[in-house]
Symmetry: C2
């Protein structure tokens, strides 16, 4: 026992800042370790000391401060006094300190900071003399009394606020700043009297007593109910304890040789290498915040304080070298002495992030690998899409032009004349006018109008509604399901937030945030060719990544764009979108409603040339690269008119006794739609099920694909086509379809006299497919994870219903950590993927594995795909650069973890 207690006594409880180091986070807390690091770096940090977290646990155990602690603190204070030339409790040049808690992990619910500790009536006078600012000194004193009373001793903050309010009322002013030094002096007296009344004693004037009380308060704050609850929630151990940081207060308002400011080592907006920031002479930090005086640029410091400026620039360089990143520095100058209060990695725009990373690598400050790791892939999306000019958008908000907020269905910003039908949008758009198509919801009939618009806004529909899916595919900004607006198609206007917008009036939508504004907001167009740093960074990323990045593209123009963005293949070409275009849809409907096999065949024969020509365009664009074409997937009723509208039409015609022929036609169409209608179309007759029940469509598609491939091959285009069967759940489905389609493929090659490289494979998008992937791999030459559907079936969520009805709320309430349709759920969906990878490779070791769900463009999901060992991710063309960067980061992170 004796030995143990000796050991304990030997333990160092108090560390001067320069005695610690950044490795001692456990002992000194995050803030303490950081202050130690800055001190060791030789930065002029205001001196101070840290009381260890161990001391906190010791205190909590014995329920009192360990004996000798305050002696150690006193000894540390002596050092600080020596360094600063100030004296704790001294009248002439008083040392005032701040007392802060600082745990290993930053935690809300812990104690607020106490500033200006050490003030009493004596030291106050010293401050008045030093600053020549009585008002400032009394304000500091008043604040200290309030903070100490409420934060350290638990008195009611509201009572202090009330005294303040009464004072303002008495003086007939509304702002704190309007109170005079005398007013504040009177408040100090009132605060002290209040303290006496409540605490049955005088406010403590002994600085050491103040300090002891504050330290005790910090230790006790470790166990406030809020802090305990926070730790429980985030599973942080309860035995870490908090450190106490006691630091010299420095003041920038001690004359014209003093000041305060904030600077960045590089321009946070552009990334340009240049110290950038603002400061105020003879001022405190509060003055900057209050905005009473206008700060001046750092550059001007050169004239005003040349010595300080030179020192600051030297410091900034040293800081960047040490931290190896662009930093944000808080500083204060007290009577000609520069202090660095804080330095942190600086926040920056996407553009700056890219430039800083590339510049720093070129300056050899960091490696290229580090440069790649420095940029958030999500962020670079901003560089690739039009966005509102931030100032103009701010202005629009200020002017109250924000009409409503919908679903951020497809990113990018658009501004133009509101148009309420697709024909008009097409007409105006083709004339070169910027239009935004506004619809209750869109259907295949609207696609021509969408193509001619700058953006899409719908009042109904979720993230997988027609509008959202088509817009994302086209890279068009889209706000969907914006329930705050009401669209009156007949009157050609929308109303929202009490305002009415008629056709032709300007409207602006931000697809990245879901915001809808009245009026025009200028957008800034991206220009990838001008983004040279980004191109450099991505070229570096390409060297590190193992995953290939492919793109989802339904049309030749998408494929061309994707390749421009660096796509190494097409991972998903959805053939049914080709069916939806205006000139084709009537043929598709004739095919579906055909009453004889001959009639169906005739319609299919008409469709074939359309499909073939689309495929040829895509093959040409992707010359030399693989193209995965998915055979028809959606249920056929998606190509037919809306059921409810038909029902209404038939009922009306019956009621009004309209033309018998018209009625009969409508009734027949209604009957057809009803016969195909499903309770849960998502789980119904679609995908390969449809191909099994009605093989003619996929036979036509296979023929169109192979004819296109052969035509291209004859023109020396290097074609690698992969035919993908969707929605397979049982090996027998795949075998049967392959057995039907392979002869078609061979027949076409025979007819054309050319051989092309083709494969048959399947989507893994049904849990059962993942669970029996060993069986499925006997027939499938490749797998592509359809994680949209796999997420729907694994969770039992219909995305169309879930997002509006409960999913967003789930994410908001943290029932789910993220929206699983945006970021892959590793515990559930991920486990299915893992199983499929393992089983698939067991049967066919070199099987090609990819992902073509929306997750293919999400960085966290891409990391998971890398860990699973997939061959590629496929995402929308606009996300290809993001995916390239994310894939590289995943590879680098893996290597680093292995080290």
């Amino acid at each position: 026992m004796a030995a143990k207690s000796v050991t304990k006594r030997r333990k160092k409880r108090v560390y001067l800042f320069h005695e610690g180091n950044k490795e001692l986070k456990d002992l000194l807390g995050g803030k303490g370790a950081n202050l130690a690091e800055m001190s060791n770096l030789g930065l002029p940090v205001p001196p101070g000391f840290t009381i260890t977290t161990e001391t906190c646990m010791e205190f909590l155990e014995r329920k009192e401060l360990p004996p000798g602690l305050m002696d150690d603190a006193r000894a540390a204070l002596r050092h600080v006094e020596k360094e600063t030339g100030k004296k704790f409790g001294g009248r002439d040049n008083p040392l005032l300190v701040s007392v802060r808690s600082g745990a290993k992990i930053s935690m809300p619910g812990m104690m607020d900071t106490i500033l200006n500790l050490g003030l009493n009536d004596d030291t106050l006078q010293g401050m008045v003399e030093l600053t020549g600012n009585e008002r400032f000194a009394y304000d500091a004193y008043r604040r200290f009394i309030m903070m100490f009373s409420t934060v350290a001793l638990g008195l009611d903050r509201a009572d202090f606020d009330k005294m303040m309010d009464q004072m303002k009322e008495k003086r007939g002013v509304t702002q704190d700043t309007e109170l005079t030094a005398e007013d504040l002096q009177e408040l100090v007296a009132q605060y002290k009297a209040y303290f006496r009344r409540k605490m049955k004693r005088d406010f403590p004037t002994d600085p050491m007593e103040q300090l002891e009380t504050a330290i005790t308060a910090v230790f006790n704050s470790w166990n406030t109910p809020r802090a305990v609850a926070y730790r429980n929630f985030y599973k942080i151990p309860h035995d870490l304890g908090t450190a106490v940081n006691v630091q010299t207060m420095v003041f920038g308002n001690m004359g014209d040789d003093s000041g305060t400011g904030v600077a960045f080592t590089r321009d946070p907006a552009t990334g340009k290498k240049d110290v950038y920031g603002e400061f105020l002479i003879n001022a405190q930090g509060e003055d900057v915040v209050a905005g009473v005086r206008t700060p001046i640029k750092i550059a001007q410091m050169k004239q005003k304080m040349p010595r300080i400026y030179r020192e600051f620039i030297r410091l900034a360089t040293r800081i960047e070298k040490h931290y190896r990143d662009a930093m944000d520095i808080e500083f204060t100058i007290e009577r000609g002495k520069l202090y660095v209060l804080q330095c942190r990695v600086g926040k920056r725009t996407a553009r700056a992030a890219v430039r800083i990373a590339v510049d720093m690598a070129n300056e050899k400050l960091i490696s290229r690998r580090e440069a790649v790791m420095r940029v958030d892939p999500q962020q670079i999306n901003q560089l690739l899409l039009p966005g509102f000019d931030p100032k103009e958008k701010e202005q629009a908000v200020k002017e109250g032009r924000l009409l409503a907020k919908g679903l951020n269905a497809s990113p990018g910003a658009a501004s133009g004349a509101a148009v309420f039908d697709a024909d008009r949008a097409a007409e105006l758009g083709e004339k070169g006018q910027a239009v935004v198509l506004v619809r209750p919801e869109t259907t295949p009939d609207d696609v021509h109008g969408m193509l001619a618009s700058k953006g899409i806004l719908t009042a109904r529909g979720g993230a997988t509604s027609h509008a959202a899916v088509v817009a994302r595919g086209l890279g068009l900004p889209c706000v969907a399901g914006c329930e705050g607006i009401h669209v009156d198609e007949e009157k050609r206007l929308l109303s929202a937030d009490g305002k009415v917008l008629k056709e032709g009036e300007p409207i602006s939508i931000d697809g990245a945030t879901g915001e809808v504004f009245a009026g025009l907001i200028p957008t800034i167009e991206p220009d990838l060719d001008k983004e040279k740093e980004l191109a450099t960074l991505l070229s570096w990323a390409d060297k590190f990544r193992r995953l290939e990045v492919w793109a989802n593209a339904d049309y030749p123009r998408d494929a061309i764009r994707a390749r421009g963005f660096g796509a190494q293949g097409i991972g998903l070409c959805r053939t049914e979108h080709m069916f939806m275009e205006t000139e084709r849809l009537p043929i598709v409907q004739r095919m579906i409603l055909a009453k004889t096999p001959e009639a169906r065949k005739k319609a299919l024969d008409e469709l074939l040339p359309f499909q073939r020509s689309d495929f040829e365009g895509i093959f040409e664009a992707m010359d030399g690269l693989p193209v995965v074409i998915r055979l028809i997937d959606p249920p056929l009723h998606e190509f037919l008119p809306d059921h409810d509208e038909l029902l209404r039409e038939v009922t009306e015609l019956e009621c009004k006794g309209g033309k018998p022929r018209k009625l009969k036609r409508a009734q027949e169409m209604l009957a057809a739609v009803e016969s195909m209608r499903e309770m849960n179309p998502m789980l119904g007759l679609r995908g390969c099920r449809l191909s099994i029940m009605m093989p003619e469509i996929v036979e036509m598609q296979t023929r169109a694909i192979m004819e296109a491939a052969c035509n291209c091959a004859k023109r020396k285009v290097d074609v690698h086509v992969k035919i993908m069967i969707p929605l397979v759940g049982h090996i027998n489905e795949l075998s049967l379809i392959r057995k039907r389609l392979e002869p078609v493929a061979k027949q076409v090659m025979k007819e054309q006299g050319v051989k092309v490289d083709y494969k048959f494979g399947t989507m893994i998008e049904i849990p059962r497919a993942a669970l029996t992937a060993d069986q499925i791999a006997t027939e499938a030459q490749f797998f592509s994870f359809g994680t949209n559907d796999l997420t729907q079936t694994c969770f039992g969520y219909s995305r169309d219903d879930a997002e509006g009805k409960f999913l967003l709320k789930y994410v908001e309430d943290k029932i789910l950590p993220v929206n699983p349709f945006q970021t892959l759920d590793r515990d559930g969906v991920g486990k299915l993927m893992e199983t499929a990878v393992k089983l698939g490779r067991k049967t066919r070791p070199r099987i090609e594995l990819g992902i073509c769900g929306e997750h293919g463009g999400d960085p966290s999901s891409i990391e998971f795909c890398h860990q699973l060992g997939l061959n590629y991710v496929s995402c929308s063309p606009f996300r290809v650069p993001i995916a390239r960067l994310a894939a590289a980061q995943a590879a680098v992170a893996e290597k680093m973890a292995k080290k």
Copy 2:
């Protein structure tokens, strides 16, 4: 080489029947081993021999019969001649033989039997004399020539049929039997001439040559394309080869001391221990089949052939003792000598199967364990449900009264007056009249009518339609989705198959087959109390099984019935079915449409007493046993009026300009329904999602459950309640709900001053729940597999859509081996269950695991549940006995496999 060939020569190629034994299946084939066994048993089997499968492989290799084989065959024939006193090729008492193939595994595509081999013009005369029946002899000869020519030599059977047809035409007759001996003699001549023309040689008259050709043909038949394809499909090795069985023909038509017949060792209809069967004197098997003469009962043999009768009874006893089962025996008496041709395990009715098993165990012929294994669990369903009198049903079919066939949605037969609305059904039913409710489809509004009916028939809806689910729950026969009938509600009639049935006219439905008949068909009502043997068998089964059998019951009356059938608990009580009853539905609708929390609370307060009283009834019925109550599961729109009907109503009212108040009400209801409508309700806002978004309902339900439990406990009822949260996919859903409901449970117990045993658990019915069962088990005190939904999500099938649109076709075309909604899919759904069991037990080793999907009553699925180590299966009350037996069989099978 020399040594090897010596070994080969030593190999025995030909086994007389009594030289083999039943273990030599590989060598002698199934049939050969069986004949050997019967011979060794001392049964008077017509003598013969078997050529081994090895010889077949030898033949196929060397492409000719091995040298010496025919010598061995000749030697064996000599033995047979000695035993029978007949001579192969002899004129006076000629030995005729049959030649049959016989592989180890019975296989279609192999060679047909050749009968009467050995016949030629000489031996024919012997047969004429012996039988005194020239017509018979020529007919046998004609058949032999045809069989030999087509089966052994590959001539075209159609040509022989043509000659036969021409002969009949010439004679002006239609039946073969109408031809005379002379006609047949002429046919023999034609057949021979045809043979000569085709084969360029005479029909072989040498019996040894006939035999050699037949043996060669049998061997060659191993490799017909059909046989090879069959083996490929069933993965049967190609190197097994077939044996050849050569057996003496015996004839029952050689005078009044001859005869032929079939007998069962016990009554196949009732199981009574009594030799049962029919025979004909002086006749061949064909005569029995032709039905020209009426056979006489075996009992009469006692008078007619006392010696043979005694011998036969002795034989039957010996056969039963040997085979340890009730056997079906084919026999022939040739000139006073009894031959047993075949004995097989006899087919029997469900009733007989049960009685035979129980009797045999009581007779110590088999063990009780064997008795339990002898009865097919599916079969005993027949004993527990009303069924049509088979003769009456046959009669109805003959009279053309079968109207249509629908889905066999709930087994049992019902007969009564057709009624077309629920109110009228309730009215008549309550008066005691037998009615069958016929509806286009049913809704909750129809339940009171369903309760009063004998059976339900709907024109639309699948196996999980409202009608089907409610009917199965009530144990009512139901034919659903019978698209062959058209129901005209207004005219109160149905039309089908060109017939019209008006209200009140009799109709009959068979829920086990889906058949619908016009007119009454008397049913046979089951009486479990009278099924004493079944009760005995089930009591034995209970001793062997490890799985408990619980029942799904929504109402007290179901619980009482379930307990009567032996249920050991309630595994699923669906609380929402209680909401659907007529008097409650309006309150439920008020609750759903409530615009203020107060209005909702008021409606819920009204519902509480209903729920509580149902729960009390169930707890009382299950005194001492566990009851699992599932909180509300379906989406709320299921309780509201049909959308399409509302849309039609609103459109009509708008058109016609009806009363404004009525229009407004309808519009409001339509708006409410539309706001709740979902694209895929199966994957939408239901289950625990609903409870999270609208917690008031489950809070009320928990209160009702706990109040009921407390009330019962006060009355000394022993309550064990398990509250089940449906559709959990993420642990956080369960934690949140449990955190809300546990206080309600505790509060009620505090109010009531009683403690009851209660637990919270969850359904595992979403793939993600199974995949993260380790997490979920931290909160769930029990799991119940909801395999209906788990099958839907694992396959991505909506049962409502799939069964009608493609699933039945999938099963028909063998794309799926079985309907996964009837029999658990072990590869996919089963793998999820296995994962959940493993992970769940990892977290909570003693967690109680059960299944409450429909699979809980399916024997194959029960076996799988046993193998998974679940604690119980829960099924509809009527399937409890089936499950008890199936569970026992699974346990016994497992034990046997381990031995």
